[in-house]
């Protein structure tokens, strides 16, 4: 049996991102030294949208980078099929910056571990914070998000996908039963 349920629509996603943008500014007391880094592929468009919102509120452009974490994964030596490597593009120094990592779904926490290792190879950020649209639980590492769009309790056999206009033509968060 396959069931598909929309748990967040376009307005919901936009309202969450607006709130997260404000929370990021509130926690960091403004946009000083702030940079956003989206994790490929799910986090990139969300980071871009957050950057627009924050830049509009602050009245100045907040730097925005893209991080591919493939080379830092912990399952490369156990799996034979290699994930396709995407481009990393962080065209500014991270030294002394407050970095907000952005991803779509927080699940086991392994992606975030890899992302933090990668960021630290790029320099010494003043702090690293994490913003996610969905936190679905089931952490395998001691990691939590600073900014969460929606907590979505899920079962391990369910699939949570964040669809975005830039990627699949429609803004929605869907939860599916996978047999």
């Amino acid at each position: 049996m396959e069931q598909k349920k929309v748990v967040m629509d376009a307005e919901g996603i936009d309202r969450s991102l607006t709130r997260i943008a404000s929370e990021i500014l509130e926690k960091n007391k403004g946009g000083e030294e702030l940079v956003l880094v989206g994790i490929r592929t799910g986090g990139v468009f969300l980071a871009e949208r957050l950057q627009k919102k924050i830049s509009r509120i602050e009245g100045k452009e907040i730097p925005f980078g893209i991080l591919d974490i493939t080379l830092y994964r912990d399952d490369l030596s156990t799996s034979h099929r290699k994930p396709r490597l995407g481009k990393t593009d962080i065209p500014f120094s991270l030294d002394g910056r407050k970095v907000v990592l952005v991803d779509d779904v927080l699940f086991t926490g392994r992606t975030i571990r890899a992302a933090m290792d990668a960021l630290i190879d790029f320099g010494r950020p003043k702090s690293i914070q994490l913003a996610v649209l969905i936190d679905r639980g089931h952490r395998e590492l001691p990691i939590r998000a600073d900014f969460v769009g929606k907590n979505l309790p899920s079962s391990l056999w369910q699939a949570v996908s964040v669809n975005l206009t830039e990627k699949n033509g429609k803004d929605e968060v869907v939860i599916e039963e996978n047999a």
Binding site: T78, H80, K82, R84, L85, D117, D121
Partner: protein
Amino acid sequence: MKLSSKDILGIKELSVEEITLILDTAESFLEVSTREIKKVPTLRGKSVINLFYEPSTRTRTSFEIAAKRLSADTINISASTSSVVKGETLIDTAKNLEAMNPDLIVIRHSAAGAPHMLASLLRQSIINAGDGAHEHPTQALLDMMTIRSRKGRIAGLKVAIVGDISHSRVARSNIHGLTKMGAHVVVAGPATMLPRDVEKLGVVAHSRIAEAIKDADVIMMLRIQTEREKQNLFPSLREYAQYFSLNRTNIALAREDCIVMHPGPVNRGIEISPDIADGPHSVILDQVTNGVAVRMALLYLLTGGSNP
């Protein structure tokens, strides 16, 4: 997607999809070499042996840097300082290396087919870094990467390869790769240096450089191996330079936006005049930079777990 073979022995064995996968992966790897900390942990705990039976600076260093930037351990063995001088056969050397359990062996050998023999004998991945006059697949891949990044495509371009086609593994690998990717490849060189049935490889052969480079998008000059002079394949280096060098005059026949490539080491003033080698059309140093990225891509794609 993954590569269909555990080894990279030649371009002839690769499909268009595999070549594209390697080039796309290599483009992503370019960025790692521009970082302040030029190292990623991807191949931590893997070891790569560079087994070089022929002299090499560029290719060996490039493989070594590629492996080190991926955190693999590298061991370099050159024939002159190994048990080869004591008469050990290639198979014995290889079996002994295998017993030390490396993950990947890069081999350059003067005998065509040496990497293929190792690939069939050993369970490790083998990368051919040049075997006789047969193939030099990583050179062709870095050349294709350079062409693609400069021209945005490979299909439909006119590529002229000029020089000693017969003895060139660079030419052979590039002919296989470029024709697969849809380029229009022409070759030129002295009649003694053109394989008799070169046109069976899908290229057009010319006896004059002018005919080959006319309207070319890409000109690939090959190194003339100066030791060939003794084999009477051409009367003198001076005469070769007069008829087959790329210079300020004849480059005007090519397209205005053409790129000039050379696999190195360059014999300045023989196959290419210094002002062209250093001029605005030259992408010779891009080729070297891209070489590291291509080799990182291959190491990444070939090493991995045994679980399917």
